[in-house]
Amino acid sequence: MKYAQDICDSTQEIFSSMIMLDVSPGEPFKRDTSKLEHSVSGIIGLAGTVKGMLAIHLPNEAALAVTTAFLGMDVEEIDEDVCDAIGELANMLGGSIKSIIDPTGSDVQLSIPSAIHGEEYAVDCLADSESVTVPFTFNGQTFMVELQINQS
């Protein structure tokens, strides 16, 4: 699936260099519109010649583990620090994918990242967009990185 390998490479590089976590990619798939439960999502939008979004979705436990590793201090609840950390992950992932889609940096713009969390919520972006989601595992935890884009 298009961009699946780029998502794998970017995610592994970011987690390895910034968080010192080795993450393993699984089989890419097209995520349906099922709600996410007890999770945190970091989201960044893309606009310009390519429109869409990149999102990282983590169950709460994984989000706490990632934030703990990211900040180097124990985090025990989904708070502002967690949302900020996950939003920053989306920011770096978005920047990495953008550099592949738009090497000069002038045709595609990134939004300010955002983060949402809750017991049950849905995330969807564009109709008629190409979509790929890559699952990852680390230390018995899982998360997903999702890209939805419309390049027409």
Partner: protein
């Protein structure tokens, strides 16, 4: 006298990461100041003696490029070196940052070694 660095990023997480990376790179600053956007950064520069600025590009209120432009128009602070630390490293954006006075760019994600390579010569 020790040196002072100003870290400009709307993400509190990233400001902590940059601080940590500076320590891991063996770069010792006497004082680390922080700002959440370009306007805050200008306010910090007006009130403090800063030796180098590390700035993100994508920020609300006043982004990194707007900050550079405003800084370049202030004789009191225009000479302070600025290195961009950002996910945005497309050639056009970096050229624009350099046209406003940035002296380099570090792409996120980064390692302490990369921080050292870029900042070491400045200090």
């Amino acid at each position: 006298m020790g040196k002072t660095v100003l870290i400009v990023d709307d993400s509190n997480t990233m400001r902590k990461i940059v601080s940590r990376s500076l320590r891991q790179a063996g770069i010792d600053f006497d004082q680390i100041l922080e700002a959440g956007d370009g306007q805050e950064a200008l306010d910090v520069l007006a009130a403090n003696q800063v030796d180098v600025v590390l700035s993100d590009i994508n920020m609300p209120n006043m982004n990194g490029l707007e900050f550079l432009k405003a800084k370049s128009e202030d004789d009191a602070i225009k000479g302070i070196p600025v290195v961009m630390i950002s996910t945005e490293t497309g050639a056009d954006i970096i050229d624009e940052a350099k046209s406003y006075g940035a002296i380099g760019a570090i792409k996120k994600p980064f390692t302490p070694d990369l921080i050292n390579e870029t900042l070491g010569p400045l200090l």
